[in-house]
C-alpha cells in the first residue's frame, strides 16, 4: 500500500462503548432528571436531611433506583471522560497515567457509593 497509516487493531470495544453511551444516556434521562426533580425541586435541600434519606431508603425501590443511577452515571461519565482524555492527551505516558487515574478514581467511588447505598441501615432498625 501507498503510505497506509499505522495498522489499526480492531477490538470492537469502541462500538460497544458507543452503544453504551446512548443506552445509558437514555436511562439517565429518566433516572437523573427524575432525581433532580425530586431532590432539588419538589423537595429541596432545605428539607432534606438524614431523616429524609433514611425514610427513603426504607423501601428497596429507591435503593435500586439510586444504585442504577449511580452505576449508569458513573460508567457513562468515566467513559465520557475517557473519550475526552484520549482526545486531548496525546503523549503516551500522560495518556496512560491520566486514564489509569480516571479508572482508579471511578472504581473507588463506584464501590464507595454502592456500599453506601447497600449497607445503609436506618437508625430505627438498629
Amino acid at each position: 500500500m501507498n503510505g497506509a497509516g499505522k495498522p489499526r487493531p480492531e477490538s470492537g470495544l469502541e462500538l460497544y462503548a458507543w452503544i453504551f453511551m446512548r443506552v445509558s444516556g437514555l436511562a439517565l434521562l429518566f433516572l437523573a432528571l427524575g432525581h433532580l426533580l425530586i431532590m432539588h425541586l419538589i423537595h429541596n435541600v432545605d428539607n432534606i436531611d438524614f431523616q429524609f434519606v433514611a425514610a427513603r431508603y426504607a423501601t428497596p425501590f429507591w435503593r435500586t433506583y439510586d444504585l442504577l443511577m449511580l452505576w449508569f452515571a458513573m460508567i457513562h461519565g468515566v467513559n465520557g471522560l475517557r473519550i475526552v482524555l484520549v482526545d486531548y492527551i496525546n503523549a503516551r505516558g500522560w495518556r496512560v497515567l491520566s486514564l489509569a487515574s480516571l479508572f482508579v478514581v471511578g472504581f473507588v467511588l463506584l464501590t464507595l457509593g454502592s456500599l453506601a447505598i447497600l449497607t445503609f441501615q436506618a437508625p430505627a432498625m438498629r
Partner: protein
C-alpha cells in the same frame, strides 16, 4: 496542534457549539458526581455528620451552584437526546442546524422557569 482558544475562533456551525456545551456540561456533571458520591457515603457515619454536611449545601453559593448543575444536566440530557436521534435516524441530519436550535429552545423553555423557582428559595 490546535490550541484551546482556537476551538472558539473557528466559525463552525451550531453543531460546533452544541458539542462544546455537551462536552463541558458532561465533564462538569461528572465532577459533581464524584463529589456527590463522597458526601453521600458520609451517610454511613451517622445522622450527625451527614446533617452537618447538609448545612454546607444550603449555603447560597452552593444554591447557585445547584442551579448551574441543573442547567448542565438539563442541557446535556436534551442535547444527548438530539445526538441519539441523529445517530439512529440519519435522515434527520438534513435538518441538523434546526435540531441544534431546537435543543437550545427546549432547554431555555425548561430551564428558565426552573431557575427562577429555585432561586426564589435563596431569597426567602
Amino acid at each position: 496542534m490546535v490550541k484551546p482558544l482556537e476551538y472558539l475562533t473557528y466559525r463552525g456551525g451550531p453543531g460546533h457549539w452544541s458539542w462544546m456545551l455537551h462536552r463541558l456540561s458532561g465533564i462538569g456533571v461528572f465532577l459533581f458526581l464524584l463529589i456527590h458520591i463522597v458526601d453521600i457515603s458520609l451517610i454511613g457515619w451517622g445522622p450527625k455528620v451527614f446533617n452537618q454536611l447538609l448545612f454546607l449545601y444550603r449555603h447560597p453559593v452552593f444554591r447557585v451552584g445547584e442551579v448551574g448543575l441543573v442547567a448542565a444536566v438539563l442541557y446535556h440530557a436534551i442535547n444527548g437526546v438530539r445526538i441519539c436521534i441523529i445517530d439512529f435516524w440519519p435522515q434527520t441530519m438534513a435538518f441538523h442546524r434546526k435540531m441544534s436550535y431546537a435543543v437550545g429552545i427546549i432547554f431555555a423553555a425548561l430551564f428558565i422557569p426552573t431557575a427562577v423557582y429555585m432561586l426564589s428559595f435563596i431569597i426567602k
